[in-house]
Amino acid sequence: MTHEELKIYIKTLTHLKESKIKKYLEQVDELKKEDIPKVYTYLFKKTADYYADIGGVINKIEKEIDEELYKYKIAKDKKNLDVVRNQIDDL
């Protein structure tokens, strides 16, 4: 990986503040050639962890939503059942 390739990669890290990206970009040219893959590896791993976390949270929330919807459906069915029961009682 070259210095320029690392710069291109850093520009894709748009979940970071612009100021941080800008600072990183300014520092890339000062890195030794052999350190470029290390920086890339680190940033890549951190970014993967970040997106995995977000994905995990979404999955968790989706499960919660399913549980809430189930409760909601049961409550609604019960309410409908009560309406029907009352109608039968009124007959």
Partner: protein
């Protein structure tokens, strides 16, 4: 009251005024039979009338949706997105923006994070309503609550990420311990790569990677030549 007033006749009247021939074709579609339109809920009817009104002004995509329910949903989704975009507009105040401002988080409209948040909102809406219009206030409240929770979690995670990443790139090199997979191994993994001298650095605390690398090395070692690939530690 408005829901009761919005019968199929009123909707047809809306269509009758100054429609193009193509738009009038929609009227003759069986999907627009009075009983079909009347079955829509109050919110859907309101959205449908708004959609049809917009269509009269020459919005072409509306005419492509012949199902009144689809038209109402499409219109409502467009409205939801527009309102949401307005909330993100930096000129306007919103709890989400206040949250970001208080923590010094800069999120530009149309940024990938904005897209993630919209996608999350869409996932939640889809999950809760199956893509239907939300006419039940309880479901709408549930959707909004979960959207807010997720939005805040994402923003919080962004903030943590900012704090975790070092200020200087050099700190990344100095603050971590590294191993290197030698170039022979790299070349066996990537035979099409022209750079024969390339090697891979890996974080030594990335246990998952180390285990995978060791497994790959074991698989790649050629017993016929006694050649062994090594992970070199720096």
């Amino acid at each position: 009251m408005l829901g009761k007033m919005l019968g199929a006749k009123i909707i047809k009247d809306q269509l009758d005024q100054n429609l193009t021939p193509e738009q009038k074709k929609i009227l003759s579609d069986p999907n627009f039979a009075p009983d079909v339109v009347d079955k829509l809920g109050k919110d859907a009817k309101i959205s449908l009338v708004k959609a049809l009104t917009k269509m009269k002004k020459g919005v072409e995509w509306m005419g492509k949706l012949k199902n009144p329910r689809d038209m109402a949903i499409e219109f409502q989704q467009g409205e939801d997105k527009r309102k949401y975009d307005d909330r993100l507009d930096h000129k306007k105040s919103a709890s989400y923006k206040e949250y970001a401002d208080a923590r010094g988080i800069e999120i530009e409209k149309d940024s990938p994070i904005h897209e993630i948040i919209l996608r999350v909102k869409s996932i939640i809406a889809q999950r809760i309503t199956g893509g239907e219009l939300i006419e039940d206030p309880e479901l709408a409240k549930m959707r909004d609550n979960y959207t807010e929770v997720l939005r805040n979690i994402i923003l919080q995670r962004i903030e943590e990420e900012e704090e975790e990443l070092p200020k200087d790139l050099n700190d990344i090199i100095e603050e971590n311990s590294w191993g290197t997979i030698n170039s022979d191994f790299y070349n066996k993994l990537n035979p099409q790569d022209d750079n024969n001298e390339r090697s891979i650095n890996f974080l030594k605390d990335d246990e998952g990677f180390t285990h995978r690398a060791e497994a790959m090395i074991a698989a790649l070692n050629n017993p016929n030549t006694n050649e062994e690939l090594q992970i070199d530690e720096e």
